[in-house]
Subunit: 215 residues, 2 copies
């Protein structure tokens, strides 16, 4: 009998009738993304969720498991969004424009994610592996072949597709990941910084296309 019950619990989601689990995840997300795995306190997450500390353990057993739930979720969204935006059916140059505009927009709405992921993967490189294991292999295969095609058609200059992908992603992500540094370096207030990012939606794709397009 015990075994049957166990199977049932594995098939159906646990705690399905309550939003507490979701509340905890949202609270944990807010705290972990700023303070990180080691800087975050279970007490602060409980306060943020408006519940008791013991509940965190009831739902997620340990801090590490709770963190992992938050991290996996954030990272999977982050990378599946890249794949999604790179897989729209457009010619290469339009696709780059489309990607930059939408990805910068997404990053502006989730501005803590890049630094959060960089931090946690830097401190524990193994964490990234599970993310890619589940979300399928070689996410940028389609985009790489787009680039190769455009090169052979003489639309863009010859370029290592992997270098180009990293250039594109880096140009979008870096200014968000390094937000407080850039604000200080360039003497930006909050509004100026936001305008700066907003401009990048157009500026970065112009920059990239200028760099690779055959005129």
């Amino acid at each position: 009998m015990d075994e049957i019950i166990e199977i049932k619990e594995e098939i159906q989601p646990e705690h399905k009738h309550h939003s507490t689990e979701k509340d905890i995840l949202e609270a944990a997300k807010r705290v972990f993304q700023i303070k990180g795995m080691y800087g975050a306190r279970m007490q602060e997450i409980a306060d943020e969720a408006g519940i008791n500390k013991a509940m965190l353990h009831y739902y997620f057993r340990s801090k590490d498991k709770l963190f992992d739930a938050v991290f996996q979720d954030a990272a999977k969204n982050f990378f599946s969004k890249i794949r999604e935006l790179l897989n729209v059916d457009k010619p290469l140059l339009e696709k780059i424009e489309y990607f930059v505009e939408n990805y910068v927009e997404l990053l502006m709405k989730n501005s803590f994610i890049p630094a959060f992921i960089i931090t946690e993967v830097h401190q524990n490189p193994d964490r990234i592996k599970n993310v890619f294991l589940e979300s399928g292999v070689n996410i940028e295969m389609q985009f790489i072949s787009d680039i190769k095609t455009a090169i052979s058609l003489g639309i863009i200059h010859p370029v290592d597709p992997k270098q180009l992908i990293i250039n594109i992603i880096g140009l979008c992500v870096f200014p968000v990941a390094a937000k407080p540094i850039i604000k200080t370096m360039l003497s930006f207030g909050d509004e100026e910084y936001l305008k700066f990012l907003e401009s990048r939606k157009k500026e970065v794709s112009k920059f990239i296309i200028n760099a690779i397009k055959v005129h």
Copy 2:
């Protein structure tokens, strides 16, 4: 007599005849840069330095002060190097080439610094302020005026100088800051990743110059 000795110690660097302080800083640097402020353990730093835990407090009073010494040192080197490379006396396009080549080289030799700084500034934005307060104001003024001049001479297309600076720095820093992510995404082993960075010394400056140069 006691007072005279005290004054002497304040004028000259403390603990001058021993390398212990330096040993501690080096050990702390290694540990903090990977584990971060909250993940690092004083015991581990002591082990790494080959001394006793109590010595850390003797020399630096607290974990926070020790961390701050490490962070300030790392950050100041990091940013003063940017300024130094951007202030060589060369025409803009050559200067960009020179910057990219040397900065990527430096980053390859100090590959933990970018993620370390991004992490700690993300978790505690105030830390970055002291860095810029001491190392002078507006580090990129010269470079910004170089860009404006090149635009007015018709050498490069009109572009927001601040956007261009962030593009240049981002293209160098991002692939190092996101090292484990990129290795996983692009299925790179250690050697492939190093070759990838090595190529960027030339590829990135070609990319940037293509993007901005008037042909």
